[in-house]
Amino acid sequence: MAEHPLASGASTAIAASPVATAATGATPAGTPGSPLPAAGIEARFAVDYAGFRLDVDLRLPGRGVTALFGHSGSGKTTLLRCVAGLEPAARGRLVVNGECWQDDARGIQVPTHRRELGYVFQEASLFPHLSVRRNLEFGLRRIPAAARRVQLEHAVALLGIEALLERMPDRLSGGERQRVGMARALLTSPRILLMDEPLAALDHRRKQEILPYLERLHDELDIPVLYVSHSPDEVVRLADHVVMLGEGKVMAAGELHATMARLDLPTAFTEDAGVVIDGTVAAHDDHYHLTRLDFPGGAVWVQRQAVELGRRLRFRIHARDVSLADHRVEGSSIQNLLPAIVEEVVGADTPAHVLVKMDAGGTPLLARITRRAAEQLVLRPGRRMWAQIKSVALLG
């Protein structure tokens, strides 16, 4: 045995060059919120496996939640593992907020354990031989005290796992395990949080139990989150940016609202087509039990929400819930009316329907109407219409 037995087991134990070690070792803890000179994530990877090839070149924002979205086999998990350094065969370049973790052109490959990242696996993968507390401390104890920006108590409170600390992992429910896994990842005070379908193994009720915690993470963290998901519902609820992957390639990447409204993507050709809008709670009407949400270009009234004024609420308007009129229709039960300018009309998921993309004062809108209606209304780019919104789906 010439080779050391451990060398073959460590999937990423390719020696880091002095450049890389210096880059990871010398970075200060960083003040939250201060813009770093090279903010953002640059990720260029090529991996070749039998029957599958991942080839991506991405610039991602340095904060907020970026969803890696696609069907199974699209390469989204592989991409996440590349970022973590868990795919030793991957070649390319990776810079996370100014820190170079991989650059094969310069011979840099920082091993996973020297990358300041947090990784939440699909099945929480807690260490079965350690209690919840010892699981949480596993990563915490391995970073220098000066680098600990997240305290145990803080992470425990954020994920609501105070009562579980002394239990063993096999005594936890799936949802509890996943929350412990998230807290454990956070406790390494990562510079980026990678989440691989953290809800996929959970049933609907457990998902609903975890989503609020994910939203809290989103609101409280000032680090970028890469969130792998195949569920449009999770993506529209949590993400700020979307990368759509298909067969190892990037099909679209961009800001969530704009990407969801694009008509050239497969997501448009489903019954679920629609837009996502971030509104601000602007008024409550206690008499009629309604709440007004303002957004650039308009406002909608929804059922009274128990949130204070000024809070942001994300909602979704499905294309199938939007009808069009060439004048402001009075005397209708539909009272959410928005003036909008037609931008594009394309075929929809059935030959009977078309999708109309509109601009409502800066906010994109989609409507799914019949082809006959579109012809009778003479819809063409530039035409001013009134969008009648039958229902608004609040997210979270």
Binding site: L6, G9, A10, H113, R114, F127, F138, G139
Partner: protein
């Protein structure tokens, strides 16, 4: 027990010493070997695995014969030990340890390799994302998770060495207090028609082996899968 002579007690003590020392050496050598077998993608994996398993099928006389030749004055091991000033190993306790280690190797390496393989890559990947380096991952994740495999390996390695006969006879002979273990003592008693002593020693071995296996299988029933995952 009046029927057991001092020589018999000496053989029992020697057997237990041999088994203890051999098991310790086997763990030291077998752990890295098993880890390599569990993790490697090398094309040598099959060859090494087969070599480790050879003592399972070879007659102990064959192993003993080659060890005797190798450790003899003209064998590679013999030249090495003489060059190091250790003298020759055959007919010494150290020689018995070498023989036992070879003979019991599969009984230690296979349970360990199976335990390491059962852990899978995931817990080690998790540990890496939690800043644990390669050694850290091995000692704080792989070893604790492979604990059921270690218990099995220790029990089997120890018990199999206690039950060794052929290899000892080939390379150790029958020197009282030095290389005369229980199995050889039994053989001597039977040759000398001392059936009473042969009964005591054989019965002792039978009970010992049964208790060992009972411990092993009782544990397995109560601890399915070793809780890895």
């Amino acid at each position: 027990m009046p029927t057991l002579t001092g020589a018999d007690w000496s053989a029992i003590r020697l057997t237990l010493e041999l088994a203890a020392v051999s098991t310790a050496v086997l763990l030291l050598l077998g752990t890295p070997l098993a880890w390599w077998l569990a993790c490697t993608r090398s094309r040598w994996k099959g060859v090494v695995g087969a070599v480790v398993a050879l003592p399972l099928v070879l007659p102990p006389t064959v192993i003993g014969f080659y060890l005797l030749v190798a450790m003899g004055p003209n064998g590679p091991l013999g030249r090495l030990t003489e060059a190091l000033g250790l003298g020759l190993l055959p007919f010494s306790f150290a020689g018995l340890v070498v023989g036992s280690v070879v003979y019991s190797l599969p009984f230690v390496v296979q349970p360990l390799a199976n335990a390491f393989e059962a852990i899978g890559r995931r817990p080690l990947e998790v540990a890496a994302t939690l800043r644990a380096g390669p050694w850290d991952r091995f000692f704080n994740v792989a070893l604790p998770l492979a604990r059921p495999g270690f218990v099995t390996a220790i029990i089997l390695g120890f018990a199999h060495t206690v039950g060794e006969f052929g290899v000892v006879l080939m390379i150790g002979g029958n020197i009282p207090d030095k290389t005369r273990v229980v199995s050889v003592a039994i053989y001597d008693h039977v040759e000398a028609l001392e059936y009473a002593q042969a009964h005591w020693l054989s019965g002792g071995m039978l009970v010992f082996s049964f208790v060992v296996l009972l411990t092993l299988y009782g544990r397995r029933r109560g601890n399915v899968g070793g809780g890895v995952g």
